[in-house]
């Protein structure tokens, strides 16, 4: 219940453009979410399926048709199916990456901000160095490493999704760390923390019960914007051939890279749909992020004026205080107003 209210709140309290951004963004994102969750039922074929169930091969680079709405690829797979399965891959990777970096960043950030001292200085320096580093290159290095290692079977993770998520995790940890640490530093001097400490709360309790709830509020904006960025980075890795390998799952970036040569030969459908999926999903997530930012960030926020509804006085009074009605100038005005409106109405 509390969770549901937390989700609905931004939609209710925003106004104007921010509200539309939130709504449209949420709509686009949920379409992709549905595609991801129900991919096995929504996609007409498997992501690497190249012949129908009766054993007949799909056409190679077939035009969009009634069998294959978005056409088929060079490897005879169905573009529509790959695009839908790609949504599942993208959301798996991004959710995993954002959650892992959130948890690591949160724990390190709260600890660093709360304890301060040498630990804090060291962590800030390390995170600043990481933050300054070109994030895409960092992802490339980690992905390069992981794809190599997986091939030789040294690492425990066998799934390309986990490997890709790990390479994205590294680049987002510093962002969460920064936000959380700075919020913690300013929050720990607050009176309620002081009070908790005076009551004998241990460090662990203060961090878990008081700081966590305070700090978590700045996370949703960062989370959605990072998710948007992660989709782009994942596609970039796929494009360079070091992301998710084609036999592991359908991935939009990889599909795009495969279709580059075909595009100049007039085959537009193999590149258009994965690209549209990337653009739409990133746009949707960014809209949500920016919309949330305008509701949560006090420096940008413009709140909707809460409509004030006055209970019409005469309905209350007519039953109990009938004679007093004519002594009330406000009620007289209202009655007059009502009468005027009725007079103006052409069809009573």
């Amino acid at each position: 219940m509390r969770f549901a209210r937390a989700i609905v709140r931004p939609f209710v309290t925003t106004q104007g453009v921010a509200r539309w951004m939130l709504l449209i963004g949420a709509l686009i994102t949920s379409v992709f979410l549905i595609c991801a969750l129900f991919a096995p039922w929504l996609a007409p074929y498997g992501f690497d399926q190249f012949r129908s169930s009766d054993g007949k091969d799909f056409p190679q680079l077939g035009h969009p048709s009634s069998q294959h709405w978005f056409g088929t690829t060079d490897l005879k797979t169905d573009v529509l199916s790959r695009t839908i399965w790609g949504a599942r891959t993208a959301l798996e990777v991004v959710t995993l990456a954002v959650f892992m970096s959130l948890i690591i960043g949160l724990v390190l950030g709260i600890a660093s901000g709360y304890f301060g001292g040498r630990l804090d200085r060291m962590l800030v320096l390390v995170m600043d160095a990481l933050f300054a580093f070109p994030s895409f290159l960092l992802a490339i290095v980690v992905a390069f490493l992981l794809t190599n290692k997986i091939g030789s079977g040294v690492f425990f993770m066998t799934s390309g999704v986990v490997a890709a998520a790990l390479s994205l995790t590294v680049i987002y940890i510093p962002q969460y760390f920064r936000v959380v640490r700075n919020t913690t530093v300013s929050a720990k001097e607050a009176n309620y923390i002081e009070a908790a400490r005076a009551l004998g709360a241990t460090d662990g309790v203060i961090m878990r019960r008081y700081l966590f709830g305070n700090v978590i509020q700045s996370i949703p904006v960062l989370g959605t914007l990072n998710a948007a960025d992660a989709i782009g980075t994942l596609a970039g890795l796929g494009f360079l051939g070091i992301g998710i390998q084609p036999d592991q799952a359908a991935e939009w970036g990889y599909d795009l890279q495969k279709s580059l040569d075909e595009a100049s030969a007039g085959v537009w459908w193999t590149s258009l749909y994965p690209a549209l999926a990337i653009i739409l999903l990133i746009t949707g997530l960014t809209l949500v992020g920016e919309g949330l930012n305008e509701t949560i960030n006090p420096l940008l926020r413009t709140r909707r004026l809460i409509p004030v509804r006055m209970t019409p006085r005469e309905t209350v009074m007519s039953t109990t205080l009938e004679p007093a009605l004519h002594d009330d100038p406000m009620a007289d005005l209202q009655a007059e107003d009502r009468a005027r409106r009725e007079r103006r109405d052409p069809n009573p």
Binding site: G16, V17, L125, V126, D128, A129, L130, A132, F133, P134, S135, F136, L137, I140, V141, V142, F144, L145, N148, K149, S152, V154, A228, G232, A235, G236, F239, L240, G241, I242, G253, L256, Q257, L260, A263, S264, S271, A275, I278, I279, L280, I282, T283, T286, L287, E290, L299, L300, T302
Partner: protein, 341 residues
């Protein structure tokens, strides 16, 4: 805050000293990732292509049989001397790769940065000034969608649809004749062409530069629009803007003289930070347009599983970003006294 700690030289020295630990952390990270992780880089790069004996001797030669701590020390020490190691696959010193291909990356990123500034900052100013009007919405959508479009797809669209229409080239950084005519002096083709004074060569180089830098620049400008817009919105809420309005200063003057100037100071810092984004984007742009920069080389080495080259190039990129950050901070301290506390 004592007066001595606010002095500019002191700030610059402090900031310079910070470069050392940052670089050290980066290098340690790169080393940990690429060397300490299990597996054998030389076999990954060369395995199956040469005999086991040759494999052993090349390991010996590259110093990979030494203890890790010795390798780590060698790596740190060589980077201090601006030696970024050697590639395993084609045995090229990385510093040569940087010299040969760095110019192309530099001209691409500089041109793209200019495009992003010229397009992004005015649009951001307009959007911030006209908050929540249709123009604001349109500009923001433009920024979001251009940033959402993968560089390689934008590059593809440009190559297939725009380039033929405009008759502009979309591959490499110059036509073969130009590279033949223009003598290589600075490794930056545009400057070489200007130095040679050969007018057709200059035109040719510029024509090759237009589309790749537009694609990368428009991609980055979404970030600029967002930053400038938010800064304008925040300065618009500040007390001094309100005070100026209350004194009866015209809205136009408030915007230009009070809000914009102050909003642009933090923007400079953040623009500098986009060097990292620009370099990452350059890798993709160079791959799409076959632009002979460092990024294209990096992708080639990645596909060849060349740890040595990847380590060297990534270290170099890290150094570039840290130095750009340093320069931006110093410029910022010169402009805004509040920075150097």
């Amino acid at each position: 805050m004592s007066s001595s700690s606010g002095s500019l030289p002191r700030y610059i020295v402090q900031r310079l000293l910070l470069v050392i630990p940052m670089m050290w952390i980066l290098m340690t990270l790169v080393f940990l990732l690429l060397r300490v992780a299990p597996g054998d880089p030389v076999s990954a790069a060369l395995g199956g292509k040469i005999s086991p004996q040759a494999l052993e001797s090349s390991k010996e030669q590259l110093g990979l049989n030494k203890p890790l701590i010795q390798q780590y020390w060698d790596y740190l020490w060589s980077v201090v001397h601006l030696n970024f190691g050697t590639s395993f696959t084609d045995n090229q010193p990385i510093i040569d790769v940087i010299k040969q291909n760095g110019g192309a990356t530099l001209s691409l990123t500089t041109a793209a940065f200019l495009v992003a500034v010229v397009v992004g900052i005015p649009l951001g100013l307009i959007a911030g000034r006209m908050r929540d009007t249709p123009s604001d919405v349109l500009i923001r959508l433009f920024g979001i969608i251009t940033y959402a479009t993968p560089i390689f797809f934008a590059g593809l669209l440009v190559q297939v649809h725009v380039a033929p229409a405009l008759g502009l080239p979309t591959g490499s950084d110059a036509s073969p004749e130009t590279t033949f005519i223009v003598p290589d002096r600075t490794h930056i083709l545009l400057i070489d062409a200007i130095l040679s004074g050969d007018w057709p060569s200059i035109v040719d180089v510029v024509r090759h530069l237009i589309l790749p830098s537009l694609v990368l620049g428009i991609f980055i400008c979404g970030v600029f629009i967002r930053l400038v817009r938010i800064n304008i919105l925040q300065t618009n809420q500040s007390d001094y803007v309100e005070a100026a309005t209350a004194r009866g200063v015209s809205p136009r003057k408030v915007t230009w003289n009070h809000a914009f100037r102050n909003a642009l100071v933090p923007v400079i810092t953040v623009l500098g930070l986009q060097a990292a984004l620009l370099l990452g984007g350059a890798v993709l742009t160079e791959t799409t347009f076959n632009w002979p920069g460092i990024g294209l080389k990096l992708v080639k080495y990645i596909n060849g599983r060349d740890y040595g080259a990847v380590q060297g190039i990534v270290t170099f990129f890290g150094l570039v970003v840290i130095v750009v950050g340093l320069i931006v901070d110093i410029i910022n301290a010169l402009i805004d006294p509040r920075v150097r506390y």
